[in-house]
Amino acid sequence: MSVNTTRGIGLSRRRFLQILAGTAGALVVGVRFAEAAEPPLPPEWLGDHFHELGAYVRIDAEGNVLIGARDPDTGTGVATALPMIIADELDADWNRVSVVQLGLGVSASNNQPQWTYGRQRGGTGDSIPAAWADLRQAGALARWLLTQAAARRLGIAADRLRCEAGTVIAPDGRRVTYGSLVDDASKLDLPRQAPAPKSPERYTLIGKPVGDVDAHAIVTGQAKYAIDHHEAEALVAVLLHCPWPDGSLARIDTAPALAVKGVVKVMHLKPEPGQPPGHTVIAPAVAVLAENTWAALEGRDKLKLEWKPGASVGASSGALEQQATSLLDGQAAPTTRVRDDGDVDKAGKHAARRFEASYYQPWLAHACPEPMNCLARIDKDHARLVVPSQAPQQAWAVVQRLTGLAPDQIEIRVPRVGGGYGRRLDHDYVAEAVMLAKAVNKPVRLLWTRDQDFAHDWYRPACVHKISAIVDGKRNLSAWNQRLASASALTGRGVPADRLWSSEVLPDQLPAGLVPNYRSDWYALESALPRGPHRAMPHLSNAFAVESFVDEIAHLMREDPLKTRQRLIGEPRMVALKNGGTLDTGRLRNVLQLVADRIEWKNWLRSVNGLGIACWYMDGAYVAHAVETSLQGDKLGIERIVCAVDVGRVINPLGLEGQIAGATLDALSTALNLAVTYKDGQIQQHDWKDYPLASMAQLPDNVEVIVVPNDGLPPTGASFLAMPTVAPALANAVFRVSAVRVRRLPLMKEFLRLQ
């Protein structure tokens, strides 16, 4: 169902509200572009982010409330949490709310796209904070209009009325339902100033556990993902990509494939030169188009073809690691000095003790449960696509460039998405579907088989950290010198050379700001492997190196690693960050203490099992993990895992707990088992058996989640907050139980090698 009835209508905001109300017999509240509105709207209407606004509320005469969810839900729960924010502000009865996943909201102005719903992006950790800044306005406005209408009807001043569960209530007990007010409310003039959002003590929904709005559809098999969508006459396309991203097609015999019943066409796709990653085909490819998936797969099996390797044919992940190690062992100047506090060199001269260690972390794939796919129908004056996208505006840009259609002639639907993890911020698969649909002049249902998904990804780059630290005579960490070598995930993505480090390391990551002499250097590596955004990057890799190293320092100082951390963090205070934010050391200490207490850290020294701990700071949120491991023979067991988070205000505690437990298990699975490797320039992982996500048996039976109540602060994102501290807490616990220090991931393989 689409509720985007504004598409293609260039109206002022006032007219927009009224016309929709008039035609639909319902009250419709959207907050459109400030730029597109005339007369200009007072900016205070629009919250702090008035330039990127969007929201959608619709109330019909029966009192049913339809709320649009603007950000793609890749399993992060935003399709539930964002509408909750609007519904609470509206004082709607949640039982009468239906949530509709909004497609891309785009209209045209001077042939430029106008994003009707403002930002639309998911799985990047910023949906909730962005919604907190602007979506409350939509709910507050709708409530204001309804209250005004009720005031006129009842002859009572609006400020004496209150709203509750879809009803306006007068002091004398008279009640008017929202449904009966929508007609009047839709005829009202809008207020001159933005109606004030509710005061927090009046929240009825925010902070209460709410189940996923799609849960029923999912458990009954009715939820439709992009991969489940059809178009009459659509051809199914499956692909074989060149094993070398810089290779080419040397020879092909399509006859045997075309002989398969149902196969319609075989096509060769090439990356367009000069296009940034994610805007064109990821590698040269041959597509087989057929009447159904089975015929397409059979046809692809029968293809006789030969690929010609490119310059990357000699590359291997092992060689790249050696290159990184020799770079860090040598004296070469870094590509970028990311941060340099105090004087690390001078501090070294007064060293009481000096420590050093190196850590290796592998390439990672996204491994989305729902593989890349896209349904594309390209007509002369309209394109309709169903895309599993995390950033539909980016998908739009790809479609627009390849079709030349006007902004509002492109319709992009984004149903619930089967996992994203950053993979679907790039839209190479959309480019493929559009190219094919244009070529065959029919709708195309593109499907990446799992082997293509593993072998052609925008991988998380491998990295090597070499960290040295100095402890002074008072056991204080006086200097920290961190050097990191990796191939930037931003190469080719329009980022200036002196900012390529920003996907690999952050100037404000711990323990920066806590150590007087702190230096962070980045060394660029070259690799032909496609690279891109990945879940919790670069926190994931840096937290493992940093929080493992802190433990190593503690061990060499013969100290309880909790105490070492507490001394490093220091007393509760606000530490100014380079990016303008602040690190609240009190909140960091608190999450650390909470997991320590829960796992009974007092047993750390004597426990037969091994206890490990780690903490981290990420974009205004705080996280800590504690892990208890056991060892029987060479069998490592994870007995307990505890996570504490402080995310400020919690919108949906049930959703948050799910995200924290889920990210904890995903991070465990990644740390224990997962690595992408390549040899002769070719990826060596082709199916789940080569990239074995942790099994039920390998994972703990329970994740204990502690959420710090902190309603005084605005909410932060949490979908990958629990990722970074898992691997170091695990490695630290493994060290306690086995005396084996794992400095290389994946952990299980390295543990067995070292033991």
């Binding site: 839900d73 619930r416 799910g658 199916d687 048996a697 039976d701």
Partner: protein, 178 residues
């Protein structure tokens, strides 16, 4: 036209219609409904469900079904739909995730338990977990952790602990009903 009569025996005029050849299709029952597959017998059940019947609850996860997203019940036993050709299915009863719900819309106790325990991440692999869980509960009405550990499905969203709780909840509910 053939002559209307020869040797005094009436002859039925030829209609010109060529009779259909007898089709030896593969007859299966999917969620209680009967279908006959007359296409390629090597077509895997998964593509028959998804492309022919447009029954899309059963998901594609990979070529060998390792992650379990493509599990269905064949005569009550869990089978990876992508590795099962239609050829072996004549006369078989298939249950997909859509078939776990009763005709009146009542959810299977395990479906309800997945909702109650919030055992859902992105939801893509959930149908496979449900089929595996229903099979487990059929074999072991009161499964222990060791039994649940045997499930080979995987979940990138990390729902395993909540799936475990859901299976236990469904088992408890069943015990309470019994």
């Amino acid at each position: 036209m053939a002559p209307a009569q020869a040797h005094g025996v009436p002859v039925v005029p030829d209609s010109g219609i060529v009779p259909e050849a007898a089709r030896n299709g593969i007859g299966i029952a999917v969620n209680g409904e009967h279908f006959v597959h007359i296409g390629d017998p090597q077509m895997p059940l998964l593509w028959y469900l998804r492309d022919v019947l447009w029954l899309t609850g059963t998901k594609y996860g990979g070529a060998h079904g390792e992650n379990g997203a493509d599990l269905v019940l064949v005569d009550g036993k869990p089978v990876s739909a992508i590795t099962q050709p239609m050829a072996g299915l004549d006369g078989k009863r298939i249950t997909t995730v859509e078939g776990l719900t009763a005709n009146d819309g009542t959810l299977h106790p395990l479906q309800q338990a997945f909702i109650d325990e919030d055992a859902i991440g992105c939801g893509y692999c959930t149908p496979g977990w449900l089929i595996a869980g229903v099979d487990l509960l059929q074999r072991k009405p009161q499964p222990g952790d060791v039994d649940i550990d045997q499930l080979s499905n995987t979940c990138r969203c990390g729902c395993q602990t909540r799936v475990r709780a859901a299976i236990k909840r469904a088992a408890t509910g069943k015990a309470a009903q019994a």
